[in-house]
C-alpha cells in the first residue's frame, strides 16, 4: 500500500554524474570503493531521472560527482533540467570549466556555480587535492563572474587550513562570491580514512567561529557566510539530510538511488537502481528510503527522547562508522552510551600529532582498489 499521502515529496535531487575526478582530495566523501562503480548512466537515462523527480516535486537539482565537467553531455543535461523548471546548481572543482563551456552553460540556463577551493594558499590547495590547480581555480573564478553567474565558494575545513580562515574569507570576498560555504570536514569516505590527520583541535574551532562572527558583522550583505560545524566537538547530533527520505534524493553515477550522499557505506541496505525502478516507487515504497524514515525505527536512548523530532537521531552513517550499527543513536549525542568513542577520537587525534603520523591517503583509483580489496578480505571468514 502506498504511503504517498503521509510522505512529503523529494525537493532536492543530487545527480552525481560520475565518480571520475581530476582532483584527489584527502577529504572526499565519495565511497572509498568508487572504482567498483564505474558504469555511468547515459544521457537519456539521466533525463528520465530528471523528468520523474521533477514530476514528483523536486525543485533543486545539483550536478555533482566526482567532477561533473568530465561528462561532455553536461550542457545538454543542464538545458533540459532548466526547461523542466529545476533551479540548476553546478558543483565543481572548476577543472575543465573553460570560457567556451561557461558560455554554453549560460545559454543552457544554468542558475549557479559552486566552486571548490582547498585553501587560500597555493601550497596547501595543491597538497590537499594532490594536484597543481590553485592558479587554474583562480582563473576559473574570474571567468565565472565574467559570465554573470552567481557563485558560491566552498572550502572544506580541517586542522591544516583552519589557521588560514581569515585569508580564505578575504579570497572569497575579492572574487565576488555571493555565498561562502565553510564546511568543517565530515568524516565519511576518504575523510574517514584520513580522520586522525584532518581532525582539528577545539581551540582551532573556537578561533574559527570567532573569525566568522567578526567577518559577518563587518561585511553586511555582500557575501553570506555559511559555517558548517565540526560535529565531533558537539553534544547533540546534526539533523542529517533534514531527515532520512525527507527531502533529499541522490542518484549515484551508476544509477543507485541514495537517501544521503554516503548511504552506500551502510550494510544491510539494497539501494534500488533508477534503471530498474521508477523514482516514485523508490521514494515512497523502497525499503532503502523507508528504513530510517520518521521515528519508528529508533532504539533507545532516541526512542524515548524528547528531542527525537529535533535531530531525528542524527546521522545513520556516523552511527554505523562509530558504533557498528546504523540504527543506533548517532554517538555525537552525549546521551548515547557510546559517546565516549567520539571523545576518544578527538583526544587521540590531538595527542598523536608528530613526525610518526601516517601519511595522508589521497582519493585516486589505485587507492580505491587497494582499500576496497582490503575491505573485502576483512569481510571473509578466517
Amino acid at each position: 500500500m502506498s504511503d504517498t499521502a503521509r510522505i512529503a515529496p523529494p525537493l532536492w535531487l543530487l545527480a552525481e554524474l560520475t565518480y571520475r575526478c581530476p582532483l584527489h582530495c584527502a577529504f572526499c566523501y565519495n565511497p572509498v570503493n568508487y572504482a567498483d562503480h564505474n558504469n555511468e548512466l547515459t544521457t537519456d537515462e539521466w533525463l528520465g531521472v530528471f523528468r520523474q523527480a521533477r514530476a514528483l516535486g523536486a525543485a533543486q537539482l545539483g550536478f555533482s560527482g566526482g567532477e561533473p565537467l568530465v561528462r561532455d553531455d553536461l550542457e545538454v543535461l543542464v538545458g533540459e533540467a532548466r526547461k523542466l523548471g529545476f533551479y540548476t546548481n553546478l558543483i565543481t572543482s572548476g577543472i575543465g570549466l573553460t570560457d567556451k563551456r561557461l558560455a554554453k552553460l549560460k545559454e543552457a540556463g544554468l542558475d549557479h556555480i559552486q566552486l571548490s577551493f582547498q585553501d587560500s594558499t597555493k601550497e596547501l590547495n595543491d597538497f590537499l587535492s594532490s594536484t597543481r590547480t590553485f592558479d587554474l581555480k583562480n582563473r576559473v573564478a574570474r571567468s565565472i563572474k565574467a559570465h554573470g553567474f552567481p557563485m558560491v565558494l566552498n572550502c572544506v575545513l580541517h586542522r591544516y587550513n583552519l589557521p588560514h580562515l581569515d585569508k580564505i574569507i578575504d579570497m572569497a570576498l575579492a572574487m565576488g562570491a555571493e555565498y561562502l560555504e565553510l564546511a568543517n570536514t565530515q568524516y565519511y569516505g576518504w575523510a574517514h580514512i584520513n580522520r586522525a590527520q584532518l581532525m582539528p583541535t577545539a581551540e582551532q574551532l573556537r578561533d574559527a567561529e570567532a573569525v566568522v562572527e567578526r567577518y559577518r558583522s563587518e561585511i553586511g550583505g555582500q557575501c553570506k557566510i555559511y559555517f558548517v560545524i565540526s560535529d565531533y566537538f558537539e553534544k547533540r547530533p546534526k539533523r542529517c539530510m533534514n531527515g532520512w527520505g525527507a527531502v533529499f534524493l541522490g542518484v549515484a553515477p551508476d544509477g543507485a538511488a541514495l537517501p544521503c550522499h554516503t548511504a552506500r557505506s551502510l550494510p544491510g541496505l539494497t539501494f534500488p537502481n533508477v534503471k530498474e525502478v521508477p523514482i516514485e516507487d523508490i521514494w515512497y515504497e523502497s525499503d532503502a528510503f523507508n528504513r530510517f524514515r520518521g521515528v519508528e525505527w529508533m532504539k533507545e536512548p532516541c526512542r524515548s527522547c524528547e528531542e527525537k523530532l529535533i535531530d531525528g537521531g542524527g546521522c545513520r552513517c556516523q552511527a554505523y562508522l562509530l558504533t557498528g550499527d546504523p540504527a543506533n543513536t548517532d554517538p555525537i549525542c552525549d546521551k548515547s552510551p557510546m559517546h565516549e568513542k567520539v571523545i576518544n577520537v578527538v583526544w587521540q587525534a590531538a595527542s598523536k600529532r608528530g613526525p610518526d603520523e601516517q601519511p595522508m591517503m589521497f582519493r585516486n583509483d589505485a587507492n580505491s582498489r587497494l582499500v576496497s580489496g582490503r575491505t573485502t578480505k576483512q569481510k571473509m571468514p578466517a
Binding site: G57, H112, V152, E178, Y179
Partner: protein
C-alpha cells in the same frame, strides 16, 4: 522613487506539488504563503512600493493592506531578496 526588484540570484516560481510560490536560490528554497507570493511576483523592477500597494488593493479588493505589504517588503529587504534600483 525606488523600484522593487528581486535580486537575479533568486528565482520565483509556482510549484504545483506544493501548491505555493517558492523562492529558489543556490541550494535553497523558501516556500511562500499566498500574500508573500503575490507581493514578490510583482517585484519585477516596474513598481515602487506605492504602485505595488495600489495594484494589490485593486486586485484583492481590500483597502487596508498597506501596512502588511510594507512589513513584508521590509522583511524581504532584510533577508537580502530585493535589490534597490532608482
Amino acid at each position: 522613487m525606488t523600484v522593487l526588484k528581486l535580486k537575479p540570484i533568486f528565482r520565483l516560481q509556482w510549484e504545483p506539488v506544493q501548491n505555493a510560490h517558492v523562492l529558489l536560490y543556490p541550494e535553497g528554497m523558501v516556500k511562500l504563503n499566498q500574500s508573500a507570493g503575490e507581493i514578490l511576483k510583482r517585484c519585477d523592477g516596474t513598481r515602487n512600493i506605492e504602485t505595488l500597494i495600489d495594484e494589490l488593493k485593486k486586485v484583492f479588493d481590500t483597502p487596508d493592506l498597506g501596512d502588511e505589504v510594507r512589513l513584508f517588503v521590509a522583511e524581504a529587504e532584510r533577508r537580502g531578496w530585493l535589490e534597490s534600483l532608482t
